[in-house]
């Protein structure tokens, strides 16, 4: 028996040990917002947030998530109010077919939290420095979002959406 805590709702699952978190979310719990792209850890479409960290649900066994707090795209909205990143994706036209979008949005939400925490990425000039959201170059956003592929090629507008949320947060 596995206890999955998804978007603040607790589910008790009795399941085959081979069940991945991705298939548990989609096929058992009916939360189909999380997408199956490559199913081998290469595309990021299945990105979810576990215990505050963005991870790939396709390479995560459901049994290994027992008791952990999981957030999917369905858990971002507050009542009728979109999460600022969802609103920014709409405003910036940051998608075309939309299949990679749930993963992109969850990844972007975490990327911004990581920037606020000041942690470096591969393109940070000096890993000793603390990065600053107000002056973050686009190459930092692209690198931090490189785990989410978009076959429609909406990358330019995805960067713009992340940039907009960063700018709004820095202003407020």
């Amino acid at each position: 028996m596995t206890t999955l805590r998804v978007n603040n709702t607790t589910h008790e699952l009795s399941h085959d040990p081979r069940l991945t978190l991705l298939d548990a979310l989609r096929d058992v719990l009916g939360l189909t917002g999380t997408k199956k792209g490559c199913d081998q850890g290469a595309c990021g479409a299945c990105t979810v947030i576990i215990e505050g960290q963005r991870v790939l649900s396709c390479l995560t066994l459901a049994a290994a998530c027992d008791g952990q707090q999981i957030v999917t795209i369905e858990g971002l909205i507050k009542g009728e109010e979109l999460h600022p990143m969802q609103a920014a994706f709409l405003h910036c036209d940051a998608f075309q077919c939309g299949y990679c979008t749930p993963g992109q949005i969850l990844s972007a939400v975490c990327a911004i939290q990581e920037v606020h925490a000041g942690v470096p990425s591969h393109v940070t000039r000096d890993v000793r420095q603390t990065v600053d959201g107000a002056t973050l170059p686009d190459e930092e956003i692209r690198e931090r979002m490189s785990g989410n592929l978009c076959r429609c090629g909406a990358y330019a507008n995805i960067v713009a959406a992340v940039r907009q949320v960063l700018a709004d947060e820095v202003r407020s």
Binding site: D16, P17, R18, T20, D39, Q40, G41, G44, T47, Q53, R54, V55, L56, L59, T60, L61, A63, A64, D66, S107, C110, A111, E114, A117, V119, P120, S121, H122, T124, D126, V127, R128, R142, E143, R144, S146, G147
Partner: protein
């Protein structure tokens, strides 16, 4: 995926015993290697023992060392302020690998135990001595552009894919383990991975059921001037064609001591010790670094498609050392 029994235990020795008692059992940490390879039937454990909750997720810092728990995530380690300050080569190596999602999942112990990305290893219909001893090696005469030129044998030319391990090699890390009977031991990093030789399927120095508990890096003041340079086909999210991890201890413009690790071109995380020795007492010029690079690659053996890696690696070495030399530390 083949069926298996999932087990979660409370103590490291219990987990070690659970795996030791079954030839087909394997440990599961972050799952980025194991679950991936189980899906394509390259790994078919009958028992999977989860090790995430064994209390091995701490980083303990002291004045003379840093002890990294086996299930510390790659992100935790790369982002740790003391690691970034004392061992920039380690943070840089980790951050150059995979993506944030994968680094958030992957454990430190799992990273050094990750399996090769050789496409013939990953294809159960291909011949691979590493996956199936004695079956042959399709890479030798196949598409071997990404394969190794150092540490190769006539039985296997697969590269070790880890970036982190190349940094741990130059930092002389020690791998600490616990055996099923509760005894512990420490394995020097240079002895942990095995070059393929006649037994490509023997990849590391661990016994079946022996569990990594933590990795220790001694304080190395010179590592403040260190760097990891990775060269690859894409700017991000790609394995190395060649990489260099360097530590440079300078006295003015003279090299007191240097360390050089190589990735993407070797069958195990590579330490170029002769090249290191050649640098001692020399001026830290690009010509000096180029001469060391020649020594580092002297024993390289290329196949049909990967000859370019030899020259590429020499340039990578020179630029990595030059960057470390020019850094403000």
């Amino acid at each position: 995926m083949k069926d298996f029994t999932f087990q979660r235990l409370a103590a490291a020795e219990d987990a070690a015993r659970a795996v030791a008692g079954r030839p087909g059992a394997m440990f599961l940490a972050g799952g980025t290697t194991l679950v991936d390879l189980m899906k394509i039937d390259v790994l078919t454990p009958d028992t999977v023992v989860a090790v995430r909750d064994l209390g091995m997720s701490r980083i303990d810092v002291s004045d003379d060392a840093i002890a990294i728990g086996a299930t510390v995530t790659n992100s935790q380690l790369a982002w740790h302020p003391v690691v970034r300050d004392r061992y920039p080569v380690l943070s840089e190596a980790i951050l150059s690998g995979a993506t944030t999602q994968i680094r958030n999942m992957a454990s430190v112990a799992g990273n050094i135990l990750q399996r090769t990305r050789c496409p013939y290893f990953r294809d159960i219909h291909a011949s691979c001595n590493r996956r199936q001893p004695g079956s042959g090696c399709d890479a030798l005469e196949g598409f071997n552009r990404g394969h190794a030129v150092l540490g190769v044998s006539e039985h296997c030319i697969a590269t070790h894919p880890s970036d982190m391990s190349v940094a741990l090699a130059v930092l002389d890390a020690d791998v600490h383990t616990v055996q099923p009977d509760g005894t512990t031991r420490s394995i020097p990093f240079g002895e942990f991975h095995k070059a393929p030789g006649d037994t490509p399927h023997v990849e590391v120095a661990l016994e079946h059921g022996e569990l990594i508990t933590h990795i220790v890096i001694s304080y190395l003041p010179a590592a403040r001037r260190s760097h990891y340079l990775k060269v690859r086909d894409r700017a991000s999210y790609e394995f190395a064609l060649a990489s260099a991890a360097v530590v440079l201890d300078l006295d003015g413009d003279t090299i007191r001591a240097a360390r050089l690790g190589l990735g993407g071109i070797a069958t195990k995380p590579w330490r170029a010790t002769q090249a290191e020795q050649s640098l001692t007492g020399r001026k830290a010029t690009d010509d000096t670094f180029r001469a060391a690079a020649e020594i580092a690659l002297a024993g390289a053996v290329a196949r049909k498609h990967n000859h370019f890696k030899i020259e590429l690696t020499k340039h990578t070495i020179v630029r990595a050392f030059a960057t470390a030399r020019n850094a403000n530390v």
